[in-house]
């Protein structure tokens, strides 16, 4: 079985702070990490490797420094790592991103593609399903467990829903998007770390994926950012440092004023 896991390097948004004076983001010193849902997906792939001896490839599209998460994936135990990087791929929205990654996947042999459900810097949850569409493959999103049935070449997938879950049976090859909360990703192995830099990270440019230029990068992006701005929080109300009894009075009066009681 061949599995390709699509991963993304993201800023650790939980570490982002706001400058209280200017209200702007402080991006300096924010560590870059492997996107959590992608890491969950990678763990599912490695479990299939443990069980069925699957060959696991990771691919990321990004800046050259995204190599770091590929090395991390190698240290976790993947067999092959690909960095898709090219200026022509820059400025891509989700559709152009998915076109480029699908282009790379088209040149590969696989039974299963795993992506994270969504990336913490964008939270769109779009790239996985869009890759599936470009490749004309079935998709299952919000995957929280999967089993491979060797005899039927199908996957039995547990998909999270608002009310509970759904069990789906899907023909290989297919695309699934994984939930970080469904699994504990393994730590990098010490020996994996020691040898991570002896292994090759394949660097692919846009010429390698044979996707028309009007489908990738900025040109291939139907959406554009009109403006970005720090979140405007509404002005703060009054804050009182009072005894519990006085606090209750203040709250009750406020509730009466706003007709809550």
């Amino acid at each position: 079985m061949n599995i390709v896991v699509c991963i993304k390097q993201v800023p650790d948004t939980t570490e982002v702070k706001i400058n209280p004076q200017t209200g702007t983001l402080i991006r300096e010193g924010v560590p870059s990490i492997m996107n959590p849902d992608d890491k969950g997906g990678l763990e599912f792939a490695l479990q299939l490797k443990d069980k069925f001896g699957a060959h696991v490839t990771v691919i990321t599209m990004g800046l050259p420094q995204a190599e770091a998460i590929l090395r991390e994936a190698l240290a976790m135990g993947v067999d092959r790592a690909i960095l898709l990087t090219d200026r022509k791929l820059g400025g891509a929205d989700t559709l152009a991103t998915s076109s480029a990654i699908a282009g790379a996947l088209r040149t590969m042999d696989f039974d299963l593609v795993i992506t994270g459900r969504q990336a913490i810097d964008g939270d769109t949850a779009q790239v996985g399903p869009q890759i599936a569409e470009h490749l004309d493959l079935p998709q299952v999103s919000y995957m929280e467990d999967l089993q491979y049935n060797e005899s039927t070449k199908t996957f039995t997938i547990r998909k999270q829903t608002e009310e509970g879950y759904q069990i789906l049976e899907v023909q290989a090859p297919c695309v699934v998007t994984a939930l970080a909360s469904a699994v504990s990703p393994r730590y990098m192995r010490v020996n994996g770390i020691v040898t991570a830099y002896d292994k090759e990270v394949e660097v692919w440019g846009a010429d390698r994926i044979q996707v028309p230029e009007e489908r990738i990068g900025k040109a291939g992006s139907p959406t554009s950012v009109y403006k970005a701005f720090p979140k405007q929080l509404k002005p703060a109300g009054e804050t009182h440092e009072v005894t519990p009894e006085e606090a209750v009075e203040l709250i009750v009066n406020k509730l009466k004023e706003k007709h809550i009681i």
Binding site: E72, A75, Y187, M188, V190, N191, G192, V194, A196
Partner: protein, 379 residues
């Protein structure tokens, strides 16, 4: 001169920090309170390859460096000094002497199981009457046909009741003094070997510190480690390496106390502002930070020397001396900065202060380290 990490070191640090934070820290208070050996953590460490970091891959190890091993002990000790010393004793005091002095058969037999964490290692040198004066060994080993017969006891043995393999130092010829001392590999199940009482300690309370008792203990002849009469040198060399591990542990404890104190002094407000804004806090903390950084450089250099085959005996002694005293100073002041809260078990600095003290004592007291350093200075 290059003080930068290799890319592998950076990756390793990322991993071990996450591991310490997620798997070790949440258990630290409980392990201390209940004096419980964190076996579940050891199993997790084994899975990742932490139990055999500097052991070559041909013996089932991770093939890493001693720098990495030192980083592991530091980062584990930063959140839980008990976990740090379990790894340190296992690696420095059991894996290392087998790797450095063992026969090929011994390495093949013991290292894969130790490096994979299937077996835990320990080291027995100290006796009731042979502490700093390690040459006063009273445990004796007598050759009887195809085996050695050991009699005597060891005390204060880290990992004692949980270890599967012990490096044991014993007298094979009393008349020769230190030249009559030899080393043995003893397995937990050997006849005549038993574990004695468990110590109740001030700190590192989760590590199992016990007596080892040898009553006509039968040790196969081939389990002699190194040559007959070379045991004292082997023990001293083992302790040279072990000291860097303990230095890393002390460094980790100091760093952990720094982390807690920085956080606390920023949050805690007195007289209308954070106590971190007072110059007294700032100046004291600046001094402590400088010492912690200096200790780290000493620890790293000692491990660097070990990795590169450069003598490190004095460097190890300096690293341990300085890191241990820094750990004691930092944790004592950390408790002071925390005020009344620091004296309670609600905050981890209380535990850290208790944990720090042992680093000035075991694997050579600070006085022994000064002897080693002075010995080199005035040779």
């Amino acid at each position: 001169m290059d003080f930068s990490f290799t890319k592998q070191d950076e990756l390793f640090l990322q991993m071990i920090r996450e591991f310490a934070e997620k798997e070790v820290k949440p258990l630290a208070a409980e392990v201390d309170e209940e004096e419980r050996f964190p076996m579940e953590t050891v199993k997790k460490m084994a899975k990742i390859g932490l139990m055999g970091i500097p052991v070559p891959t041909q013996y089932g190890g991770a093939g890493g460096t001693n720098i990495m091993y030192g980083m592991a002990v530091e980062e584990l000790s930063r959140v839980c000094a008990t976990t740090g010393v379990i790894l340190s004793a296992h690696t420095s005091l059991c894996c290392a002497p087998i790797l450095e002095s063992g026969t090929e058969e011994q390495k093949q037999k013991y290292l894969p199981k130790l490096a994979s964490g299937e077996w835990i290692g320990a080291f027995g040198l100290t006796e009731p009457n042979a502490g700093t004066d390690a040459a006063g060994q009273q445990t004796v080993a007598v050759l009887d046909g195809d085996h050695w017969v050991l009699n005597g006891s060891k005390i204060f043995i880290t990992n004692g009741s949980y270890a599967d393999v012990f490096i044991v130092i014993a007298m094979t010829d009393k008349s020769l003094g230190t030249k009559g001392i030899s080393a043995f590999i003893v397995e937990k199940g050997f006849p005549g070997f038993s574990i004695g009482k468990k110590e109740k300690k001030m700190g590192i309370r989760g590590s199992a510190t016990t007596e080892l008792i040898f009553e006509d203990c039968i040790v196969p002849k081939e389990n002699l480690l190194g040559q007959i009469g070379k045991g004292f040198g082997l023990a001293m060399k083992t302790l040279d390496g072990g000291r860097i591990g303990i230095a890393a542990q002390a460094l980790g404890i100091a760093q952990g106390a720094m982390d807690e104190t920085v956080k606390y002094t920023k949050e805690r407000k007195q007289f209308g502002r954070s106590i971190s804004q007072f110059q007294n806090t700032q100046f004291q903390m600046a001094d402590l930070e400088t010492k912690v950084q200096a200790a780290r450089l000493l620890v790293r250099r000692a491990h660097y020397n070990k990795d590169h085959g450069i003598p490190y005996s004095a460097e190890a002694a300096m690293a341990k001396l300085f890191a241990a005293e820094t750990a004691m100073e930092v944790t004592t002041k950390a408790v002071q900065f925390h005020g009344g809260y620091g004296y309670t078990r609600e905050y981890p600095v209380e535990r850290m202060m208790r944990d720090a003290k042992i680093t000035e004592i075991y694997e050579g007291t600070s006085e022994v380290q000064r002897m080693v350093i002075a010995g080199k200075l005035f040779k």
